[in-house]
């Protein structure tokens, strides 16, 4: 029964891809769905693509293990949503449409000017390094989820999930990715509302859960987790700081660029925030109540699939497990398309000047999806460990490299091309160095200092650039 539900889910994704393919005729269709995406799809596809398997497995496991204080990620991520939806989305959509920008590097170069392609190359490098490894890691997660859910051999699971993603992304481009993300986002929110409610009822309700947790360990019910001083600062900044990553994720920002109008963005803001509240707090309450219902788990990240199998009819359990695959696959397809657009649109078309006609550009985009998708599958099947090293700082690297530059470019006139290059380089390098030096565990999550320093570097280099004429 569970296998049938998952098979039906996969088939539905392929049908959506085929339908979207019929509307995909130009590069603008392939990379941005002809800027025709409505508010519901913009809202839910942008949020679903930003939340990977982390929210259904990692966040649930974190609150299971850490109690109430682990939920600091929720207001942090929602604050990131607020910044994206209110400060970035309206202006980015308007400016990208006015300038005809199709990708995030396109937008930065169109706005700041980039005659030597330095800004575009820096952007493409960061996107490619961060997202390339990320896609491979998410495909690994797909294989492991298929193994756990259906009992498929790991390699078969990677290829089965990878081929489905590849086919619908290849056929329908941005439109297929957005539509499938929309469906996947609905499955995720359904699962993360229903499951916590059922588990809370099983545990005796909200008050009973807090009472039981307090009996186990009073610190589990405190927002501080019983920590004080620098330890508390590290906990709160670390979890809250995750939200700083949102304004720099290219696969999320392109959704706003594809919205069909200003009014759609206003509706998107409400829908996306409600989705975020339901999903983040749903995952949190599931972790808290799950600890009462199923205590002593060795791997708390398995709470969601375990409870689904134990408590639900196989049909519903299949839907819940499809929600796990949805969370992973919605992120993979979005990142794959952005990585492919960085190669075909930004590198080949804009820097090398090849495949510039509409038909050739469309073909190059599809070829890049196939090549990158196949390479990511090969890396995932072979479990090439070095690639997964990049994933450790993919979220924070992208967030620190692009977040401050995007925000400052949209809200001030002070940013210059060299300022943006300095910001992107500083954000990415500080993230990597901070992480490698082990400061993330000892002091604070790398995104916090990297984001601040990237903002300062952008402003300082821009000021210097304006004063001296040209930095180069």
């Amino acid at each position: 029964m569970i296998a049938s539900v998952v098979a039906a889910y996969m088939a539905a994704l392929l049908v959506i891809g085929a339908l979207a393919a019929r509307l995909t005729r130009s590069p603008e269709d392939f990379f941005l769905a002809g800027r025709s995406i409505g508010s519901w799809v913009t809202a839910i596809s942008s949020t679903a693509s930003s939340e990977s398997g982390w929210v259904v497995l990692g966040a649930v496991g974190m609150t299971y293990a850490g109690g109430v204080s682990a939920l600091w990620y929720a207001p942090g991520c929602l604050a990131g949503y607020v910044v994206n939806l209110y400060l970035v989305a309206p202006r980015l959509r308007r400016e990208a449409a006015a300038r005809g920008s199709l990708t995030l590097p396109d937008f930065l170069c169109d706005r700041l000017g980039d005659p030597g392609h330095i800004l575009r190359l820096a952007s493409v490098l960061v996107i490619f390094v961060s997202l390339g490894g990320y896609v491979a890691a998410q495909l690994t997660a797909t294989g492991k989820a298929m193994e756990a859910i259906l009992g498929l051999p790991y390699g078969t699971g990677v290829v089965a999930g990878g081929v489905v993603i590849l086919v619908y992304t290849l056929l329908g481009g941005f439109r297929a990715v957005s539509w499938t993300d929309f469906v996947q986002g609905l499955i995720m929110v359904f699962a993360l509302v229903l499951m916590p409610l059922l588990v809370l009822r099983e545990a005796g309700g909200y008050s009973a859960v807090l009472a039981a947790l307090s009996e186990t360990d009073p610190n589990l019910t405190l927002v501080t987790g019983g920590k004080t001083g620098f330890a508390l600062f590290g906990l709160v900044t670390g979890l809250f700081g995750i939200g700083l990553g949102y304004p720099g994720q290219p696969h999320v920002l392109t959704r706003y660029m594809a919205a069909s109008g200003e009014e759609k963005i206003r509706q998107t803001q409400v829908i996306a925030l409600v989705w975020g509240v339901l999903v983040f707090y749903g995952a949190g309450f599931l972790g808290l109540a799950g600890r009462v219902v199923l205590p002593g788990l060795k791997d708390p990240e398995q709470l969601f699939p375990l409870l689904s199998r134990q408590m639900l009819h196989p049909l519903l359990a299949g839907v819940m497990l499809a929600a796990i695959l949805s969370a992973i696959m919605s992120t993979v397809s979005s990142q794959l398309l952005v990585a492919a657009s960085a190669v075909s649109r930004d590198l080949f078309e804009k820097v090398f000047g090849v495949a510039t006609t509409g038909r050739a550009s469309l073909l190059a985009g599809r070829a890049a999806v196939v090549v990158l998708g196949a390479a990511a599958m090969a890396v995932a099947v072979g479990e090439v460990r070095v690639v997964f090293w990049f994933v450790l700082f993919a979220w924070s690297g992208l967030g620190a490299a692009f977040g401050p530059v995007i925000l400052l470019s949209l809200w001030t006139r002070s940013v210059t091309r060299w300022g943006a290059v300095a910001g992107i380089a500083t954000g990415f390098l500080v993230t990597v160095l901070w992480k490698v030096a082990g400061l993330s565990d000892r002091i604070v999550y790398e995104l916090v200092p990297a984001f601040l320093l990237a903002g300062l570097a952008t402003l300082a280099a821009s000021a210097l650039d304006r004063r001296t004429g040209k930095l180069a």
């Binding site: 109430v68 929602l78 927002v223 409600v274 975020g276 707090y281």
Partner: protein, 35 residues
């Protein structure tokens, strides 16, 4: 509700509610300003 400090209840119930109510208020305000 005495099973946890007030801050916990605010953190778990009032904070998410504030995000939703805030989003709705901004939406309504935007609509009014437009018309």
């Amino acid at each position: 509700m005495e099973n946890a400090p007030l801050a916990t209840h605010v953190f778990l119930l009032a904070v998410p509610a504030a995000f939703v109510v805030g989003a709705l208020l901004v939406f309504v305000w935007g609509k009014r300003r437009e018309s």
